[in-house]
Symmetry: C2
Subunit: 324 residues, 2 copies
């Protein structure tokens, strides 16, 4: 039983290419940090939220980290878990500090990272009674608070690391995909916002012709084959989305130009990260990743007058973890 823990949960790129709502990967950075400590009052209290520009609530029933933390805590109480068992009876509450280290509504899985960090922090605090995979549904409880719908392709990679496929939600089934060692991910976050709810509303009520679904099925399958074969060219050319990208690209100023710049700079493939405005690309080396990142940032500046942050590196295969 620890009196306090600090957990880091990484950003993630979801809705990857053809894999809307089913495919996501974990980034090395950025990510959110949650500090948790035992408290005498039952339940979850959020002492402070930093790095959010004052946008997030400290009400634990409305803050995603609070909801996820409460979900774990309630489960531990209900199942009489909690390390040695004595801890929960003695000090049944948790105090959280949530440190946002990434932009909101950026397409980087910000709410998923906070949810994951909140869930894992409580679990660590009580001696890790739940496995990582068991934590997922608690993290999703938090995520649901933010998006109103359950989609696990941010929370699962943030929690578990790696490249993740969601087979389905009923029951939730999460599969690890291979991570080719030389694959590099570039994520460029332009300084504008896309509300997830607005991006999802574009899809609601829309009827997709079968041909568009077929195109995504072929590419999703090929992308997975490419990961198993470590064929990065195949992975890259399978980053093609006929379903969602055509509807959502208009939400991202300069998207066409940024994608074209990525291609010209040598990206293997490029599409929207999450519901945007972040855009991701794949490359096969650090050098190519640096070139592509610079080209994409420049394109956002030229085409849309937007400054950007760029994140470059291998896929994060660790996922969320205790730090310090």
């Amino acid at each position: 039983m620890l009196s306090s823990v600090r957990v880091f949960a990484p950003a993630s790129a979801s809705n990857l290419g053809p894999g809307f709502d089913v495919l996501g990967l974990a980034l090395g950075r950025p990510g959110d940090i949650v500090d948790a400590e035992l408290a005498d009052a039952p339940g979850v209290e959020i002492v402070e939220v930093t790095g959010d520009g004052g946008l997030l609530t400290t009400n634990p029933a409305q803050n995603v980290a609070g909801v996820a933390a409460q979900s774990v805590l309630s489960h531990l109480v209900a199942t009489s878990h909690g390390g040695s068992g004595a801890g929960l009876l003695d000090r049944p509450g948790v105090r959280l500090r949530v440190h946002k280290q990434m932009p909101l509504a950026s397409g980087l899985g910000s709410s998923a990272a906070s949810s994951v960090a909140g869930a894992m922090a409580v679990n660590e605090l009580f001696g890790r009674p739940l496995t990582r995979r068991e934590l997922l549904r608690h993290a999703l409880a938090g995520e649901r608070t933010a998006s109103g719908s359950t989609h696990a392709d941010n929370a699962a990679p943030s929690l578990l690391g790696g490249f993740i496929l969601i087979r389905g939600y009923d029951p939730l089934e999460v599969l690890d995909l291979p991570v080719p060692p030389s694959l590099r991910v570039v994520v460029v976050h332009p300084h504008c916002r896309v509300e997830t709810a607005k991006a999802r509303a574009l899809l609601r009520g829309h009827g997709f012709p079968i041909e568009q679904a077929v195109a995504n099925l072929g590419n999703l399958g090929a992308l997975i084959v490419g990961l198993y074969r470590e064929d990065l060219e195949l992975v890259g050319r399978s980053i093609e989305d006929r379903l969602v990208e055509p509807l959502r690209m208009s939400l991202i100023p300069g998207y066409r130009q940024v994608k074209e710049a990525a291609r010209r700079a040598g990206a293997l493939g490029c599409s929207i990260s999450g519901s945007g405005p972040s855009v991701f690309a794949f490359t096969d080396s650090d050098a190519a990743a640096a070139r592509v990142a610079a080209a994409m940032r420049e394109a956002f500046r030229e085409a849309a007058g937007l400054e950007s942050d760029t994140f470059v590196g291998p896929i994060n295969t660790t996922g969320a973890c205790r730090i310090e």
Copy 2:
């Protein structure tokens, strides 16, 4: 240079589970046979078609085997191929005999098998100037005659063998998937017909909600992961089709009962083969396959008063081949 050859091309199960138009596999039997011999008159002549109950034309411009054969022949003439080179000049024509050994409009890729056999027979006759993969587009030219649209998930497995994913059509990209050695396929063909054109018309103009596409994306990805992991349970539960099966199942009398019978008899998964009326199931052993086949046949009899043929075995990893 041979004066005559005989080629066998196997049946195939396409539109596999979640993989409409992108996923297919080759069966061991049934299959079509095409005999080809050199002829003095240029072009393709179809001397006879057997086993078709008089339904197919011997007009080589309208018979799928004839169209595929002519496509190869024209290509060889245009590129001055044809074995030693002398053959095509001496005897530039081909006479075909097409022996249908499977029912038409059965969901077993009958037209694809004839197309593949026609294309391969000509290629073999002239000393195999084209590779198997090069033959695919010629086989598809035949297939297009039958269905009016290009879909390669029957022709590709019939030609190449194995479990095949079509990434896309522009350009055509065909990927081999792993074939778990213990996977067994059951195909049950009830004695009724579903016209491919009618089955496709059900989908035309239909708008699919994004959730249905997402369900198929998750299952298609998981099915491929299952093949790589040799996890037959995962392969089986990923045989789930939210896009097409709900629309097409009404074309197959007794479908619900047959599927339920397969499940009760121990099938790992079950869905429509091609556009039906054949139904396929996966099992993990020969014994289970025999049980499932018997249960499905019985269900077709009880629920719809239909007799059936059943085909049971491993996936055919050879594909089309010269015989005798």
